[in-house]
Symmetry: D2
Subunit: 314 residues, 4 copies
Amino acid sequence: MTSPASSPDPSRAETIRIRAGFELHFELSQPTPMLFVVEPTDRPGQRILASRKRIVPDLPLAQHSSYLDPHGNTVWRLLAPAGRLEVSHDLLVEVPAHKDPVLPDLPKALVQDLPSPMLHYLLPSRYVDSDLLSAEAWQLFGHIQGGWAQAQAVCDHLQTRLQYGAGSTASTSAREAYQSGYAVCRDFAHAGVAFCRALNLPARYVCGYLPDIGVQPDYRPMDFHAWFEVWLDGAWRTFDARHNVPRVGRILIATGRDASDVAFNTAFGGSVLAHMKVWGDQTLDTELPPLAAGYPHTPTPEGLRLSAEWLQRD
Amino acid sequence: MTSPASSPDPSRAETIRIRAGFELHFELSQPTPMLFVVEPTDRPGQRILASRKRIVPDLPLAQHSSYLDPHGNTVWRLLAPAGRLEVSHDLLVEVPAHKDPVLPDLPKALVQDLPSPMLHYLLPSRYVDSDLLSAEAWQLFGHIQGGWAQAQAVCDHLQTRLQYGAGSTASTSAREAYQSGYAVCRDFAHAGVAFCRALNLPARYVCGYLPDIGVQPDYRPMDFHAWFEVWLDGAWRTFDARHNVPRVGRILIATGRDASDVAFNTAFGGSVLAHMKVWGDQTLDTELPPLAAGYPHTPTPEGLRLSAEWLQRD
Amino acid sequence: MTSPASSPDPSRAETIRIRAGFELHFELSQPTPMLFVVEPTDRPGQRILASRKRIVPDLPLAQHSSYLDPHGNTVWRLLAPAGRLEVSHDLLVEVPAHKDPVLPDLPKALVQDLPSPMLHYLLPSRYVDSDLLSAEAWQLFGHIQGGWAQAQAVCDHLQTRLQYGAGSTASTSAREAYQSGYAVCRDFAHAGVAFCRALNLPARYVCGYLPDIGVQPDYRPMDFHAWFEVWLDGAWRTFDARHNVPRVGRILIATGRDASDVAFNTAFGGSVLAHMKVWGDQTLDTELPPLAAGYPHTPTPEGLRLSAEWLQRD
Amino acid sequence: MTSPASSPDPSRAETIRIRAGFELHFELSQPTPMLFVVEPTDRPGQRILASRKRIVPDLPLAQHSSYLDPHGNTVWRLLAPAGRLEVSHDLLVEVPAHKDPVLPDLPKALVQDLPSPMLHYLLPSRYVDSDLLSAEAWQLFGHIQGGWAQAQAVCDHLQTRLQYGAGSTASTSAREAYQSGYAVCRDFAHAGVAFCRALNLPARYVCGYLPDIGVQPDYRPMDFHAWFEVWLDGAWRTFDARHNVPRVGRILIATGRDASDVAFNTAFGGSVLAHMKVWGDQTLDTELPPLAAGYPHTPTPEGLRLSAEWLQRD
């Protein structure tokens, strides 16, 4: 919370607005307790201007609650009846107009100088078997000076070493994905976190929305994204081993030690995900359009136009 | 989170929807840090279906953040520039269709059997000078058996003893209001909390919205309301010494030891509240109307009709 | 916190006292940040009557602090200089005279009825790859009714299936140990936790002291012990797949999702554990003997006598 | 946790050891729930080397527990039987050999730059009616530049304005004590906190031990002491309006918004404090002497000698 930068350029807005959300349909063979980690909240760098949530069928109040998990994430908790369950969320969010900061000179803190709550983020976790990648981490990156430089070298290495593509399952650990040579965004993030922790850089897993702004639109259906953060010089810093270029428009949903903490959906019982739609587009709207207008399906012309504009501006 | 009641009467909905919100205008003579404790979140008994927040002028992201206070309340934190500041919030909330539960047989726990986190709610606080009302509390209510009965006797006594009306200021304590004989909802709540704590009943102050549903509409402008909760038989129970009748439609914004924890607005510097509008009406809508439709001013015909219906039903 | 049982038998004490502690010597080739999770605190069922801590060489205050980790465990944090480091702790602790409770009728809660903080203990973690043991868990134990019965069946199965003995390393997961057929106490605990989580029983890993009281003394050097707890009927319940018999005298040091949370020592850098002595003996003393009297090496005659007495009594 | 200062003077120890503790006897006419906030724990600047706790009569485990309050203080919770209750605590604590730091140039943060958790320490509380002292605070101290300077000016003013002496009761607020002109350490601390909060300096109340080291011994019986802390330049800084000179040897027991959070004893029922002894002396011992040696009554010759030495050194 600091004073506004002196003499801002009035011709460039400091923030943009993004409409983001999802629609999920499940088929449940029996009443099923379910958790959803999908709700972004106000954070430094993002402001929720409007939101709406819709669950069909309508559940009694006692079968739908929210709680904060140990990482401060909002978790929705449902007892869904057998049959079809539809869950949707629609948001208008304000985020910075600038790209992820690049701060290559940030130093690496000595372990003895880290705040105590950060030590937890040096330990291995379910999908981050950093203890098993320690030797390789030091061999590959141990000679690099500087905290940012080391984390960036990890991302650069993963970009070269890992090919984007399925192969992993919900049980794949960082080391397993790394050794397989194939990775989706979740695996890129796990591997990045694992190498950083092995190097004594506190690191955590992040899930959220990453719209196609300022980049060539990806015509594959949008999905939730995963990236990671490294604690450097007193703050969490964004790294994205999957894309490995600074981006604009990230909306952070949740953070945790790894994907086991922040799976967007956990079902205690058999569930089939029958339909999934995720959206995230820059918008000039100042409020959510009425539901009757439907959810966006693909990047809207407006969104594309704005993205193109943004490309030119940058 | 329990199974739905067996064989519910399909002709009676279990929940109703309420549109609630506020619009506040301030005049600030200089840049002013401000806190707002105004945002309800999902809780047992309330579900936020839609929300929108609007602040004019638009603030840089760094001058507007949110945090959770030690009581788990969401606090908005602004650095407002000099001049006019407009803050508004508009919500669609689902709450139970039934009135505040009345459970006259709930027993009183011995202090030694209270969970440790509840002991904090036996201590005096800024506006709850329960230590100074202890002798009177035991004299008036010490003979009453039962936890609910004792808390209800406190409310009944305050109804008789205190006349609704201004007189208190932002500095008035429970004892001062009690001795003056005049009280607004905040004073009723402080006095109720004070007598309960003096009697070793853990009690906390609550602020929120209380729409006119199922009661004669109050044509005075609506305001935020304050009531209190007493920890009885393992849960917080609602008491409202101001109205002292069970009500439907409460939306809980925040809880704390007293009003100093949950003032809806705290300004660090001079500020003038130039305009204040608060609304809360039952609605059949399933989403918030567009902003262009404006904020509700007085109970809408729809709201009144629903209230009347509700009255007949009850 | 309840009233004492009516008419206790004055001939049987309700509690016993245990002297427990450890002495660790490390050889460090360079200044090394270290964490120790070794300090028991007051909990339901244990009361620290006296304690002393000794670190040689004496460290400046700024190089030795304590903090609470996310599970509420006390963690000592050192910056140890190069050379030899000696850390010792000596405690006098009061614990119940009775054995671990056996409550075979405790039911199993439905997931939807668990308190939200317990849901975290259903997720897999670094060494508890419960997701990979799910199929086997339901095949082996899915037919068993009752929460206690299911957890006990897990312990009985592990007793039969696993042979006590080394083979595991600091990286071995529950599934790996289970498949190897060999386990030390840490692996028994991880496997117990993993099967319980797979069965939707919230379970956590526990480390502590377990003296030889009421059992044949084990003449191998004493070590820290690991067991686990299952959340049943509103409280954490003790299970010990390694011994699988109720015991008296457990002193709980720390709890966590698995051993990665509560390793008794974590060194950020190379360290050699040159010497380790752990003790835990029943005692009639009411205070710690002077340091000059030394630390106990093997079960003292007094301890053995008391243990024997206890055996007769039981 | 930083590296030791380079080239320390080996002739001056960086730390000293203090033996501190208390002995309290109560007479209870009936079984009484009691809270004690008396247990110091490891903190930056203090290290508990040894401790012992003694309660007579011996209570069943279920009638004596500990918990952490919302401020992180350890609270002992007893259900004491009718009759005499003896509670004692004896500690060996390592603290810095230097006096309270004096840092007159520390600046005052703008409210908008304070970390969110600090905002809570700007609000009034039970005995800190800072809202009622606001006008006087700004009139007296508003012109002073600098955070440390402002807090120090508050202390200097209170030294002049308030005379040490009884007059206050357990219900006396900061303003009441201030207006009376008489104050004990608790009132000095409340008044200091109140003026600082009114000036937008986050401030909290502290209770602890303050031995007579480096000062003329006070031959009145020792008691617990109260002082306060102000958040300046990223850390809590010690101020003591009662003594208003830097001291060596403070052992911090607990912190809170005011004395209602950290009363050393709270009894829920009638209790008479029949005997109270508090000690705190510098010592060369490296462990607590046996209980048979008794608790120290008055400053020991050893303690006096060390104090005298310290005086010369300083």
